[in-house]
C-alpha cells in the first residue's frame, strides 16, 4: 500500500512537472532542444517508474506506531523552531534547548538530557567560535547590547 501511495504521489508530481515544463516559453535564440526537453524526458521516466511502482509494489515496510510518529513530528517542530531562533536568540540558548529536547526524545531521562544539552551547547560554541572562527553570537543581541 505504501509503495502504491508513493507511486501515486510521484505520478502526480511528475505530471505537474511535465505540465510545468511544457509551459516554459521557448526563448527566441535557443539551442535546438531548449530548456524544456530535459525536464520533460526526466518526468517521463518518473511517470513510467511510478506506474511500475503502482502495479508492482514491494512488501509493506515496517511503519512506526502512532506514538513514534508524534515524536517525529515533535522533533521536526523543534528543528524548525531552532532554524528560526538561531539568529535572533544567539547560539547558546536555542542550542541547549534543542539538544536537550532531542536527547530526551532518544532517551527519556530528563536529568541526563539537560546536562547533555548544556554541555553540547557550550562545548560546540567553544569549538565553533575559537576553533573555526565562526562569527556566532553567544546571546541575543538585545541582551548584550
Amino acid at each position: 500500500m505504501s509503495d502504491r501511495l508513493t507511486g501515486v504521489i510521484v505520478l502526480v508530481i511528475a505530471l505537474a512537472f511535465f505540465a510545468s515544463a511544457t509551459q516554459l516559453e521557448m526563448p527566441f535564440f535557443s539551442d535546438p532542444v531548449g530548456p524544456k526537453t530535459f525536464p520533460m524526458l526526466v518526468s517521463g521516466v518518473a511517470i513510467i517508474s511510478a506506474i511500475f511502482l503502482i502495479l508492482r509494489p514491494d512488501q509493506e515496510p515496517e511503519w512506526p506506531v502512532i506514538g513514534t510518529f508524534i515524536k517525529l513530528l515533535i522533533a521536526t517542530i523543534i528543528l524548525v523552531l531552532y532554524a528560526y531562533l538561531l539568529k535572533p536568540l544567539g547560539f547558546l540558548i536555542p542550542t541547549a534547548l534543542n539538544a536537550s529536547a532531542l536527547s530526551y526524545q532518544i532517551k527519556p531521562d530528563p536529568k541526563l538530557s539537560i546536562i547533555t544539552g548544556i554541555c553540547l551547547s557550550i562545548g560546540l560554541f567553544i569549538i565553533f567560535r575559537f576553533g573555526f572562527g565562526l562569527g556566532l553570537s553567544a546571546f541575543p543581541r538585545w541582551l548584550v547590547g
Binding site: 512537472f17 532542444v33 518518473a46 521536526t76
Partner: protein, 504 residues
C-alpha cells in the same frame, strides 16, 4: 618519467606543513567518524564539509582534509563491526561475518589489528592504482564529447541505482527526484527560471550541500528517534592489543587478492565499496580450500573484505577525479566539495591543476601511513568512542549540521530546506528508495542537461548523434546492462548471502 616528476610535485605539496597537518587531522577525524556508531563516512564527510569551508582553506588543502576523513572513516568503520557486530557503515558489513565471531572467541585485539593491516594494504595498493590508472583514464576522457558524457552520466545513474536498490522502479524514481531538484532555478543557457514556484530563495537553485546534509545527516536523527537509539553496548570487551604476525603473514595473498578485486569494483562508476568488500569476501571463500572456518572467525574472512572495502574506496576516486562521476555515496559528497570549490573534475584537472591531483595522491599515501599508526597501536582509544550514547551523539551531529549549513549560507530558508530534505530522506529510507542516486542526480543534473543540449547543438537537433561514436554506444550498452543485470544477479547474490549468514 612523467610519473616520478608528478609524484615529486605531489610530495612537495603534501609535505608542506599545513597540508601535512590537515592530512593528520583528517585521519583522526575520519577514524572517529568511522568508529562512532551510526555515523557513516558519507554522513561524516557531509557534515564536515561546511565546516571545512569556514577554515578558508585553498582547494588542495580542503580536498586533502576531506579525502583523509574519507579514508579514515573507511578504516574506522570496521571497529564497530568487530566489537559490536554492527557495521559502522554499509561497506563494513562483510567484516561482521568473521570479525565478530573472532572477537567473541577472545581475539578482538587480533581481529582489529589484522583488519587494520588489511585496510592499510587495500588502501595503499588502491592509491598506487589510482596514481597509475587515473592519468591513463584522464587521457581517454579527452576523447569524450558531449554525447559520450551524456551516456557516461546515464551509466553512473544506471549502475548506482541498479546496484543500490532492490527495485529498479524505485532506483529510477530516486534518480529522477535528484534530476528534478537540480533543474530548479535559473537555466544557465537561456536565463529562464524554472520550477521555482516564484519563490525568490529558489532562484539560485538548491544548494547541493544543503540537500546532502539533510538527506544523510538530518534523516539519521529521525531514524534514531524511531529506533529509540537502541543501545548496542552488548559488544565484546577489548582486552589488550597484540600483533598477530603469523596471521598477517598467512593472509598476505588474501589481502592482495581482496585489494585487486576491490579496486576494480571501486573504479566501476556507481558500484562502490560495498560491492568491493562483498566480492572480495565471496571470492576468497570460493578460492579457499578449507571453507569450514568462514563465518566462525576465519582471519581470511576479515582480511579479504577489509582490503576490498578500503581498496574500493581508493578505486572510487578514479572515476570521480578523471570523469567527474563518483563511484559511491561518499565520493558523491566529495564531488560536491570539488564543485563548491569551483574545481571541475575531469581530464582538464590533470593538465591544468596538476598540483591539486598529485598533491592529493601524495597526501593519501602519507595519510595511509598515519592511519596505520592510528588504527593499529592506537585502536584502543578509538574503540572507546563506541561507548558514546546515541542520546549525546545525535543531538551533537544535528547541531554540527545546522551550524555548518548556517555558516555556509547564512539563511534560515536553507535550514528549513535542510529539514525538509531530512524528512524526505526519512521517508525514502523507510520505503527503501535509495538516497545516493538522489544526491547524484542533484550533483550531475545540470552537467547532464548541458551535455545533452551541447550534443544537440553540434548535431543540429539530430538525436541519433547520441549514439554516433563507438565509445558512446559502449557506454549506453553498459548503462542498460548495469540497470538490468542486478535483477538477475540479485537472485544469485541473495542465495550467496543467505548461505553466508553466520549460524548463531
Amino acid at each position: 618519467m612523467d610519473l616520478l616528476s608528478n609524484l615529486a610535485l605531489g610530495f612537495s605539496v603534501a609535505l608542506g606543513p599545513t597540508t601535512l597537518l590537515l592530512a593528520v587531522c583528517g585521519c583522526v577525524l575520519g577514524t572517529m567518524v568511522g568508529a562512532l556508531p551510526g555515523l557513516g563516512p558519507s554522513n561524516g564527510v557531509a557534515i564536515l564539509i561546511p565546516l571545512a569551508f569556514t577554515l578558508e582553506l585553498d582547494a588542495t588543502e580542503a580536498l586533502v582534509l576531506m579525502t583523509a576523513v574519507y579514508y579514515g572513516a573507511m578504516y574506522g568503520g570496521r571497529i564497530s563491526s568487530i566489537l559490536l557486530n554492527i557495521p559502522g557503515d554499509e561497506p563494513a558489513m562483510m567484516t561482521t561475518l568473521d570479525g565478530y565471531p573472532m572477537a567473541k572467541k577472545g581475539f578482538a585485539g587480533d581481529a582489529l589489528v589484522l583488519s587494520g593491516v588489511a585496510s592499510f594494504v587495500g588502501a595503499f595498493l588502491a592509491t598506487i592504482g589510482l596514481l597509475l590508472l587515473a592519468p591513463i583514464l584522464a587521457r581517454v576522457a579527452f576523447m569524450f564529447g558531449p554525447a559520450e558524457y551524456f551516456a557516461l552520466y546515464l551509466l553512473a545513474f544506471c549502475t548506482l541505482g541498479g546496484m543500490g536498490s532492490n527495485n529498479q522502479a524505485k532506483a529510477a524514481i530516486a534518480v529522477c527526484t535528484g534530476l528534478g531538484i537540480s533543474m530548479i532555478g535559473v537555466d544557465n543557457s537561456t536565463g529562464l527560471t524554472r520550477f521555482t514556484g516564484g519563490n525568490m530563495h529558489l532562484f539560485d537553485g538548491v544548494d547541493f550541500l544543503v540537500a546532502i546534509v539533510g538527506l544523510f545527516a538530518v534523516s539519521e536523527i529521525f531514524v534514531f528517534i524511531e529506533s529509540h537509539g537502541r543501545d548496542s553496548s552488548i559488544g565484546v570487551k577489548l582486552e589488550k592489543i597484540t600483533i598477530p604476525f603469523k596471521q598477517i603473514i598467512a593472509t598476505r595473498w588474501t589481502m592482495l587478492r581482496g585489494s585487486i578485486i576491490g579496486f576494480f569494483a571501486g573504479v566501476l562508476p556507481g558500484a562502490g565499496a560495498s560491492l568491493g568488500s562483498f566480492l572480495a569476501y565471496m571470492f576468497e571463500k570460493s578460492y579457499a580450500s578449507d571453507k569450514s572456518q568462514f563465518g566462525k572467525g576465519d582471519p581470511r574472512g576479515i582480511a579479504a573484505p577489509e582490503a576490498g572495502n578500503n581498496s574500493a574506496a581508493g578505486g572510487a576516486l578514479v572515476p570521480m577525479l578523471t570523469l567527474g562521476v563518483p563511484g559511491s555515496g561518499t565520493t558523491a559528497v566529495l564531488l560536491a566539495l570539488l564543485m563548491t570549490l569551483n574545481i571541475t573534475p575531469g581530464p582538464l584537472l590533470f593538465t591544468e591543476r596538476p598540483e591539486v591531483v598529485w598533491g592529493l595522491i601524495a597526501s593519501l599515501l602519507i595519510a595511509n601511513i598515519v592511519l596505520l599508526i592510528l588504527n593499529v597501536p592506537m585502536v584502543k582509544i578509538f574503540s572507546r568512542l563506541l561507548e558514546v550514547p546515541a542520546s549525546v551523539l545525535l543531538p551533537g551531529v544535528t547541531m554540527i549540521s545546522f551550524v555548518g549549513i548556517y555558516s555556509l549560507t547564512g539563511s534560515y530558508f536553507d535550514l528549513l530546506l535542510m529539514i525538509g530534505f531530512g524528512i524526505l530522506g526519512y521517508f525514502l529510507r523507510k520505503l527503501s528508495i535509495p538516497t545516493v542516486p538522489v544526491i547524484l542526480g542533484i550533483l550531475l543534473g545540470s552537467h547532464m542537461e548541458v551535455s545533452l543540449r551541447r550534443a544537440m547543438v553540434l548535431s543540429d537537433g539530430d538525436w541519433t548523434y547520441l549514439f554516433s561514436s563507438s565509445i558512446a554506444i559502449g557506454l549506453w550498452t553498459a548503462a542498460i546492462i548495469g540497470f538490468i543485470a542486478p535483477l538477475f544477479l540479485r537472485q544469485f547474490l541473495n542465495r550467496g548471502i543467505s548461505k553466508k549468514e553466520p549460524s548463531q
